[in-house]
Amino acid sequence: MSETLHETRLVVNGVPHSVRVPARRLLADCLRQDLGLTGTHVGCEHGVCGACTVLVDGRAMRSCLLFAVGVDGAEITTVEGCRSADGGLGPVQQAFQDCHGLQCGFCTPGFVTTITAWLRDHPDPTEEQAREAIGGNLCRCTGYQNIVASVLRAAELTREEPR
């Protein structure tokens, strides 16, 4: 039996796309397989690890818990969209480099997207708030200390950015 395909429009990192996908195509798989944006990582596939976190209309969500058809018309930001305007590292990415916030890097895209969205509402966080902000993302390498430091550094860098 062939599955029905659904015309689905997504604006990903500012670029409009139109894809024909089965209804059960997860947004994470659509980004990776249909659009070739493999920065979004797929870890647990049931909403626990946070590696696949993307921004949907600006809000951080698990792309493994969304169907692509279910966000038809939405604006999606992936880790590829978290770079700076000149194409270099964005403030959150730069902070991870400065603070050694990653080791193997598998979980990092989910952290970068989550923190990018969170800093918009919390421009000057405390360490405790920074820890709470990343509570939904698992990292098996770092022990989190350097990721918390990266959140605080990213806040600094974001505040310094010209607006």
């Binding site: 209804a23 997860l26 969500m61 818990l65 939904g136």
Partner: protein, 296 residues
């Protein structure tokens, strides 16, 4: 780890959604936030033949405060309710409990009504609805809306009184009376994970700041949220010196938890007592503070 094949429906109005749900009956499942449903699909623990996506029903995207409480439409996400000042001012327990639901990323998509309909015995909101004595509003094709009291809605683990073909359109959370306060506490193995045990408490004080009534509702210690009347243990006592430990003992005696890989039944019972005492004490302090604000 990929969902099974299903037929996807995207109704644009509530009547259209009800027509689809009536047609697909037992084979249909409503998709709202999907934060509980999609993991079940990904793990192939559920395989509905039809998914009815209600995310385009803008008319259900509402949070409205009325004289008696807060009405939450089926499309209102956790995060929206959590940050709605009017809603959490009228029903503080909503904000207190939602803050403990998973993580921000999940709360950005998951819905309050979806969590209620999912009826997970480890979920916070069913206990909140039971504790406050709220109501579910259910709609179906060719019939008037049906209202079901919280006490009658939760039937068992992942089992509610929602009938095939019905759509839960809203939940109504009554505002607690003046002079009352609330609190939510829980213990989980990992931050944001399902609670091993959780307790919500609602305490009402009189003019002299003595306990007029106290009750709690507990999660993860039974097939449905467990309401416990605490007034016998603390009624008439001063809010800052009441025997909260005795209230906790009432709760520990009222629950019948089971062993699983996460905790023994005995540990869960212990938590039920400790968390009830903690929540009730905090609720009394909250009530006293609110009375102070009212007086000042």
């Amino acid at each position: 780890m990929k969902p099974p094949v299903f037929e996807y429906h995207r109704p644009r109005t509530v009547p259209e959604a009800l027509a689809v749900l009536a047609e697909v009956g037992h084979d249909g499942k409503v998709l709202a936030g999907g934060q509980s449903l999609v993991p079940l699909l990904n793990m192939r623990l559920a395989a509905p033949r039809h998914l009815v996506d209600v995310n385009w029903l803008a008319e259900l995207d509402e949070v409205a405060r009325d004289d008696g409480g807060v009405r939450v439409g089926a499309l209102a996400r956790h995060a929206r309710v959590e940050h709605d000042r009017d809603a959490v001012e009228a029903v503080p327990l909503l904000g207190q409990a939602i803050a403990d639901i998973a993580h921000t990323t999940v709360r950005n998509r998951g819905t309050v009504v979806g969590s209620l309909v999912h009826a997970d015995p480890a979920a916070e909101l069913p206990a909140v609805l039971v504790l406050l004595g709220g109501t579910m509003e259910l709609a179906s094709a060719g019939a008037g809306p049906r209202r079901v009291a919280a006490a009658d809605f939760f039937l068992g683990p992942l089992e509610s009184a929602l009938r095939p073909g019905e759509l839960a359109t809203a939940a109504w959370f009554p505002a607690p009376p003046p002079g009352s306060g609330s609190a939510w506490v829980e213990v989980a193995r990992r931050h944001g994970d399902y609670a091993l045990c959780g307790a919500g408490a609602l305490v009402e004080l009189d003019q002299d700041l003595r306990v007029r009534s106290a009750r709690a509702a507990l999660i993860s210690v039974g097939p449905v949220p467990v309401p416990v009347e605490l007034t016998d243990a603390v009624g008439g006592q001063p809010h800052d010196a009441a025997d909260w430990a005795a209230a906790g003992r009432l709760a520990a005696a009222a629950v019948d938890p089971e062993d699983d890989i996460h905790a023994t039944a005995a540990y869960r019972r212990h938590l039920a007592g400790v968390l009830t005492a903690r929540a009730a004490r905090a609720a009394a302090a909250h009530a006293a503070a609110r009375l102070g604000e009212g007086a000042g």
